[in-house]
Amino acid sequence: MADQLYLENIDEFVTDQNKIVTYKWLSYTLGVHVNQAKQMLYDYVERKRKENSGAQLHVTYLVSGSLVQNGHVCHKVAVVREDKLEAVKSKLAVTASVHVYSIQKAMLKDSGPLFNTDYDILKSNLQNCSKFSAIQCAAAVPRASETSSSEKFEQSNLQVSSETQATSELTANGHGPPTSKQIPHQPKGIMGMFASKAASKSQDTNKETKTEAKEVTNASSASSKAPGKGTVMSNFFGKAAMNKLKVNLDSEQEVKEEKVVEQPLLSVTEPKLAAPAGLKKSSKKAEPVKMQQKEKKKGKRVEFSDDETKETVNMKKKRRRLKLPESDSSEDEVVPDSPGIYEAESPSPPPSASPPPEPATKTEPEPPSVKSLSGENKRKRKRVLKSKTFVDEDGCIVTEKVYESESCTDSEEELKMKTSSTHRPPAVTVKKEPKEERKGPKKGTAALGKANRQVSITGFFQRK
């Protein structure tokens, strides 16, 4: 009989699976009205006790009613054990309702497990939490259309990982922005300045972030990065990108923690590959490469979290977001270590600071604007050494190393920009860059005499 089915179900839950069967749990599991679930539980208890009086069943009841206390008529709602039921009922002046709250095999010491059971089943049924309730509200209509429009807005504006994160958040709502949309969006928005190569890489990283830290994807992205990444990496992560990646880091750190943990393991190979190339081009040390070297050098250091952030930065190089103050805090931790490394490495600028031939066409105004933003936010912090590559108005690819000190201001950055823009011919650029880079780390300590300083003998003529 259909009626007996629920009895068997309850029997199975209670005795075989040793679960705590609350009325709410039963209601969601069997898909019945809450009152029916309560009646089912009662029926089960009665029958079981009739058949087998020594049944190992402990029942808790819900009692509610009113009584006069302190001059007020108080309404009390309580979950009580079976042995206390009559005592509580007798104290109440008016008993409004009594029903079975839960059935379990073992005697409960306190009501904590009841709450946990209800909480768990509720979590998995959040979207239709009032489906089996006895009260239906006509006014409570979820605004489905509005949330989906907000998702679209997010997709078009934010970056991949942020979108992924939004996905994970919104899926709780039952909506999930189609992840396929993210990939075509990448080249357009922030990714405009990156080349298609970058786009493909970002797709890799995108897939990587989407899948739950799969070794395979990690390895693929790592391997895709590994070959000759000295140039790519360094140019890939200009300061601008780093800034924008920061917010993602913070927001995603919990989410991506497991991925990140795996990444450093894999990316240990990366520094080994990148480092030799990177060392030669240490002038253009991009932050992640720096971090990789740091990781390599100071493997014993427990700055694992720093590396992790750098790794996530590696993986999520496409993230671009307006700098938020929160992102500063992550950079803050990073930075104190970096000066140590940078001082060590900067004295050895590579002679062949070949401008990366890649299509990392960062437009000039963009990095400054980002930097100024970051500069404002990071006025009090030290930043890691970053190199920025961009094409200036003459079509020359210019790379400059930027090192922001604590007292660094936007003007200092702009000065650096101006001086770098004087590098017209690439050959001169090459020559200038070492000098530029050597001066780079000293910027933090040097005065703001950048604009007046003549970088090289021909610098005088370059200025227009």
Binding site: K109, V141, E333
Partner: protein, 465 residues
Amino acid sequence: MFAEQAAQRAHTLLSPPSASNATFARVPVGTYTNSSQPFRLGERSFSRQYAHIYATRLLQMRPFLVSCPGSGVRVKKLCELQPGEKCCVVGTLFKAMPLQPSILREVSEEHNLLPQPPRNKYIHPDDELVLEDELQRIRLEGTIDVSRLVTGTVLAVLGSVRDDGKFLVEDHCFAGLAPQAPAPPLDMDRFVLLVSGLGLGGGGGESLLGTQLLVDVVTGQLGDEGEQCSAAHVSRVILAGNLLSHSTQSRDSINKAKYLTKKTQAASVEAVKMLDEILLQLSASVPVDVMPGEFDPTNYTLPQQPLHPCMFPLATAYSTLQLVTNPYQATIDGVRFLGTAGQNVSDIFRYSSMEDHLEILEWTLRVRHISPTAPDTLGCYPFYKSDPFIFLECPHVYFCGNTPSFGSKIIQGPEDQTVLLVAVPDFSATQTACLVNLRSLACQPISFSGFGAEDDVLGGLGLGP
């Protein structure tokens, strides 16, 4: 009233499953208007001095007090006072308290003072009252209860100036209750549930079960059919502040080194997620108004602005969720509600000898100002055009949240005003919420409990001997 109604229906749940189960429709939303517009701040500028708020407060309150002394006694300004002449003066009160924490004294090196530990009350027998009007101030003495009054109250004092320059007070009076528009009568029982101090993130497991039971009663999952039918008459739920616990505010991360706290999440993040789930359950079933409180992630100064909807991605899907300001003012089914999350009352408690929160609540109503101690000891936005905390109209239900215990009282005003005062207790400590019956303007506490290891079920319910 809740239980009696509920008990009228037959108990059906201690029986085998019946063929059909009743489902009740929530009472439809009657008339609702949110009148908290004065508490909403648009563009904020903190470059103004706080003196302007006192100036406008006195300006707005003066007309209410001028009629106070009655005929025969003239109302004068302080600059017009003649010694020995009996007259009435209207001004703002200032209480000089030696124990009041003063930041200037603390940072002053010449005093070499250690920061004062927070006390329960800062009153002292040596406190002095000073009356200030637009131009002058004068010391008050005489038949005036110094310990009861607090800074920022606008009142009228009757007396005369003595030769030593102090004003000898014979009597004083406050602005009294504001005029009240009568509430239209309701034909059936409608309830509004007031809860405050949910205290999520506080780590107290007991209060979590209580919160869940509360949500279940309101959404109609708990209880027999009679109770569910009564619960369907709950037309609104107002969460009056302190949704997060005080412990989520811990600033440990500021004191610790950055490398230790880098990956730690603020405690409020988990708590807000839990709150979102609770709000989702509630708003799927009943209109909810959420007021921020002292420990909630919004601005600190009064009036506190509504919590941002981005914190509640699940619950904001429902239009029944409303995020409102603190203080909050609304007309629900013709009944005017006005309430705060309790910061005004607890601040007055600290600087006055009044002990009962309900008494303080009544006092603020009679003084015609929600929070006279703002901006002196309670943070407040520097208003300059008008003081939004003055009662322009008397509410029907006036509540404050996060009190140590439940209290409710009905007071009558001289012009036929009837006000229900409700002191909503802190739920995380007392597991008690308040049900206000809009038809009869009566309030009933409703408490929830589970059972604990100590077997003291009756004690937990308050039913012990």
